[in-house]
């Protein structure tokens, strides 16, 4: 071969070697962990987890006798009554009233809770300490659950250090039942209720009930001590999963919607007999809303409307830079299961952390 082509061939070989080495260096030295193609799967609270099952069993400490009526004949040899969760038993639920329970202690230790508490403490480190100083109860340690039942609030926890002055401000306590105490405010210092101030009941230093209606307090203690039946409209023990859970009657659902969505609220009330809510916040924030009803076709149409409404809301949130709401709605979906709709919404843990990026220790570090 004459010189020029031979030289060219050698040059090309040398170039090939250099390029191959460069390729190897670039791709080997520069490489990192494999690329992730999917967002992490969010686990939705659709059934009780093992740890929630154990929690339920631990809480079942209340042995409920059969309710005694004056004219009822004494049942003969009644079986050993099942143990129940006193908190759920003591909820003064009335027909048509919603009930929502917050597992405050579990929330405190969830990812969302940690971020929230860190954010609050970053703004004011004494927030929770001041509350404890004021009322004798550490909101981060002594409160286990909080339930909202119609107009009442039920709190479970440790109230043995609750300052008497907090309760005595509502009036003198009156004993009720075997272990209950009532504080019903009376402007004249008696036991006549004052409609402007809430009444408080405390049962065994572990259950606090606050309501404008003193009868609700009495009903709660009666249920706990077996003098009144536990209402069916409440929350059964096996429904107590997630960090937030609740049951809302269809009729009550219309009150959840604002003026703009009133039509949707009316339709929901028309087809839904009961709406169950579960929220899991342990890692991701995931919510499942189950709408049950007898009208399958109505539920199916409602599902499409809700799905469309969620999609529109997401677009509006994106357009207005409401990133948190947009994040929540990104994984929203509606599943039609014949006699029930399941509406799922979630925010992955990493997105949750971005919500609190400008608050808490991350901000302090910056």
């Amino acid at each position: 071969m004459t010189p020029a082509p031979r030289r060219r061939a050698r040059r090309h070989l040398a170039l090939a070697a250099v390029l191959l080495a460069a390729a190897a260096l670039l791709m080997s030295v520069g490489a990192r962990e494999p690329t992730r193609t999917e967002k992490p799967d969010v686990e939705f609270p659709v059934r009780m987890r093992a740890e929630e099952q154990k929690r339920m069993e631990r809480r079942a400490t209340l042995a409920l006798p059969a309710p005694r009526g004056e004219s009822a004949p004494a049942p003969a040899p009644a079986p050993e009554p099942a143990l129940r969760d006193p908190f759920l038993v003591g909820l003064p639920v009335e027909e048509g009233e919603p009930v929502v329970v917050f597992e405050a202690n579990a929330l405190r230790h969830s990812r969302l809770g940690e971020l929230f508490v860190a954010c609050v403490l970053a703004r004011d480190p004494d927030t929770f300490a001041e509350v404890e100083r004021a009322i004798g109860v550490d909101p981060l340690k002594d409160i286990d659950r909080v339930a909202f039942v119609g107009g009442a609030m039920v709190v479970s926890g440790f109230f043995d250090r609750l300052k008497p002055s907090v309760l005595d401000a509502e009036g003198r306590p009156a004993a009720y039942g075997e272990a209950g105490r009532l504080w019903i405010p009376d402007p004249r210092g008696g036991t006549v209720p004052d409609p402007g101030r809430p009444a408080i009941a405390l049962w065994k230093d572990q259950l606090l009930v606050v309501s404008d209606d003193p009868d609700a307090l009495r009903r709660s203690i009666d249920q706990l001590e077996g003098r009144a039946p536990v209402p069916d409209a409440g929350i059964p023990d096996d429904m107590a999963y997630g960090e937030v859970y609740g049951a809302i009657p269809g009729e009550a659902a219309r009150r959840l919607f604002g003026r703009d969505e009133r039509g949707l609220g009316e339709r929901l009330a028309a087809v839904a007999s009961r709406i169950e809510l579960h929220v899991d916040a342990q890692s991701d924030l995931a919510a499942v809303v189950r709408v049950r009803g007898d009208d399958a076709e109505g539920l199916s149409d409602l599902g499409k409307s809700i799905g469309a409404a969620l999609a529109v809301a997401r677009v509006q949130a994106q357009a207005t830079d409401d990133t948190r709401f947009a994040d929540l709605l990104e994984s929203a979906r509606v599943q039609d299961r014949g006699g029930a709709l399941a509406i799922e919404l979630a925010v992955p843990a990493e997105r949750l952390e971005s919500w609190f990026r400008d608050c808490g220790p991350a901000r302090a570090r910056r």
Binding site: A24, L26, M27, R36, G307, Q335
Partner: protein, 278 residues
């Protein structure tokens, strides 16, 4: 540069008349028509309420249309990437051997075109052909879905582009082999081998522990080091399909590395071609 483009253009014109090309085009078009007429997507106020394919319901969830369509875009992205590159290996294996055909190569070498321009023009023409084919399929489906739902997903188009980048590494090896031995079958086999090795190389970190620590693992890592990371490159378009941001740095490294590998293989091809008599 102009002779290179002229060679590439001639290759595309030749491809137009080939049965393989026509058959592939017809196949992809048929799939697109199937999607256009067989896929029914019911969108209500931006939510995908129902989807049916050939009359059969595909899924029952109702959710935001762009989120609901992510799995579809992801699947199409994988199909465009892997299907496009593999079909390219099979359909384009004989372009380079045809360039060297007796009676043709003598004529070409006597024209005012350098040997390097012949090789690069052939390479460029085939790259454009494969890219155009992949883009046709991916973009076609994107447009069909956009027309039906208003949702535009760019993952298939990105997959076509990344597929062309990946194919550059594969085809450069096919050209180099052809310059050594003029055989369409051998060229196709070489392309298939590099295609498989590229998938292995993309997972080398996960596969390395399968080898005994020491010589075996070192040899495996050394041999796979310069190979294009095809399976890693394939992941970027599905990532876009699932609403995740592109990992620019990783993408640049993998694409750049593939381009360097392709350039190395082409340099080898040129070295072999320079020494060849016809």
């Amino acid at each position: 540069m102009i002779p290179t483009l002229a060679i590439a253009r001639d290759l595309l014109r030749e491809a137009r008349a080939r049965r393989w090309t026509v058959a592939l085009l017809a196949g992809v078009t048929l799939l697109l028509l199937l999607a256009a007429f067989g896929l029914k997507l019911e969108v209500v106020d931006g939510a995908l309420a129902a989807s049916r394919f050939l009359g059969r319901s595909v899924h029952g969830d109702i959710r935001a249309a762009d989120v609901a369509l992510r799995p579809l875009f992801e699947a199409v992205a994988y199909l465009v990437f892997y299907g496009g590159t593999l079909l390219g290996v099979v359909a384009c294996a004989d372009f380079a051997p045809a360039l060297l055909a007796p009676g043709r190569i003598e004529h070409l070498l006597a024209l005012p075109v350098r040997r390097s321009e012949l090789v690069l023009g052939t390479f460029l023409g085939v790259e454009l052909l494969v890219f155009a084919g992949a883009l046709y399929g991916g973009l076609g489906l994107t447009l069909i879905v956009a027309a039906k739902t208003g949702v535009v997903g760019f993952a298939p188009a990105l997959a076509a582009l990344l597929g062309a980048v990946a194919f550059s590494g594969v085809y450069a090896v096919m050209v180099a082999v052809t310059m050594a031995v003029r055989s369409a079958a051998l060229s196709a086999v070489a392309g298939a081998v590099i295609w498989v090795l590229g998938i292995v190389a993309g997972n080398r970190a996960a596969l390395a522990p399968l080898f005994e620590p020491g010589l075996a693992r070192t040899v495996f890592l050394l041999l796979t080091a310069p190979l294009p990371r095809l399976s890693a490159l394939a992941l970027h378009a599905p990532r876009l399909a699932n609403g995740l941001p592109l990992e620019g740095r990783e993408l640049a490294i993998q694409a750049g590395g593939t381009a360097l590998f392709a350039a190395a293989a082409l340099a080898l091809a040129l070295a072999a071609f320079e020494r060849k008599d016809f």
